[in-house]
Symmetry: C2
Subunit: 319 residues, 2 copies
Amino acid sequence: MDSLGRSWLLLTGFVLFYFTYLLFGALVFSSIERPVEEELRRDLDALKRSFLNHSCVSAADLELFVSQVLSANRYGVTVHRNSSGPSNWDLTSAMFFANTLVTTVGYGQTAPLSDTGKIFSIVYALIGVPFTMLVLTACVQRLMYPLVLAPLGLLQRLGLKPRPAAAVHFLLLLVLVVLCFFVAPAAIFSVVEGKWSFLDGFYFCFISLCTIGLGDFVPAMQPEQNLKEVYQITVMVYLFLGLMMMYLLLRTFHKMSDLHGLTTFLQLPRCEESDLEDDREPIMENRQGDQKRSQHTQQAASEHLEPASQPSYNSISTR
Amino acid sequence: MDSLGRSWLLLTGFVLFYFTYLLFGALVFSSIERPVEEELRRDLDALKRSFLNHSCVSAADLELFVSQVLSANRYGVTVHRNSSGPSNWDLTSAMFFANTLVTTVGYGQTAPLSDTGKIFSIVYALIGVPFTMLVLTACVQRLMYPLVLAPLGLLQRLGLKPRPAAAVHFLLLLVLVVLCFFVAPAAIFSVVEGKWSFLDGFYFCFISLCTIGLGDFVPAMQPEQNLKEVYQITVMVYLFLGLMMMYLLLRTFHKMSDLHGLTTFLQLPRCEESDLEDDREPIMENRQGDQKRSQHTQQAASEHLEPASQPSYNSISTR
């Protein structure tokens, strides 16, 4: 089969697998969550019935009341406890919201109510999201040497060959990130947030650092939270550092995949800087002739695999 | 100033500007949303008082009731209207949830209730998020020729030089994406979803396609929605295509920035494939000698600017 045919077959396979994966997820979520949901519904129905029985409220009045309470709750305003409590839009809370916008985490525990707020959110994110990516990229570039290149050099000096060294380094980095940005914060959240279990904390960290941000768990939302401002700023710093480390991990994984030929196999773009290096001085070790030859063979193979339908933008003259 | 100093100055500037931007956002959001929130709170307080006055419910009973209603609502279960209505975990709804997990949009209008569901969400996203990025990348690679390279070639054949051609092409692509993936869907949503204005629809499209996914607006959540399943699947397809186009737009912008020297100026990694092309056949036009020279000068400048602290991973020998 020619490379173009193989490339389309691979894409078709990807898309089919993607939908199968969604369907599989749907079946599992449905079978896990449906019984729990039904139980909650039954409980809530019983609660409503008992509330109506023990008071002289009409069902219609209660419906109307609950409907308005829920609609206000959608914007973070609750009638529950004291509605004159701390605002969702004090300075640190608003900064927390701005932070979840530009990092694309978007918990949505608070959301703009007014049309002006919605328009400003759009404009703010339009500038803020790319700018945050820029800042994260710039920070990760500076972390590449101390966290990727230096340890890799050390592993090689300890006698490991480059490919196993890259794999060992990636695993070590993964363990470090999981411990410092998932396990430790989850333990802290399970102490600070009264109602969160360790699993809840871990789930919050994962859902946040993947930028999914479901918003079913959001820190510093307890009405009687001590030092709420300091706590919110700490969470913001945690989110920023965590996203930085996730990006570093992703880049390291991408580069390791380049090294192991995975990106070539999946016909993905290789990591940036990948092909610029041939003329540069190696920093750790001198290249052996046979290594250079094997690399060239690999590159030729990669060029052979690239389908004809993917000419590069940069092959157009640059003036 | 040497390039290393300039590089750190730029990073410090970025980080400072980032925090200023967050603070600015906080001030604006706070000043826009606080009065609206206070009005909503007053309305809700009045509603609660009037409800308590016209019924024989005690304030404490109501607090307890509302607190449980709100806690159930956090997981998508409402006592409002008919709590025996359609499940949040029927097959298409669960698929919709799975889709918002793997695309990192994460509205959170429904969220797993059980610990098993939370653990499964983590595992599911761990595989699903990178795989979705892979599928999106693979699709975008196939769209590069018909939507980027072919139109660019056409613009150049019409007499435009490469840089203006790239800028004109980017603007045209932007207009196309805004019309097809923001304006048109917003108009459709404002018709299909009874309570959404055009702005609400546009805001939903923007918040979704940036993967922020606040979840204050989620389609197909009306209890009496006709053809709910078909509607949810259509929204899923819209999200997938929209994210693909956003990614294409981002990649085109990155490549245009390469061409205009913006990535070099900001010391960011250049787009993949950027430096591999010198030996390839140009697809549209033959390169002029002076163009090639100017490109080489630019490349040399870019290498000069790269700080010494950023040696590449690939400069380590590849065996």
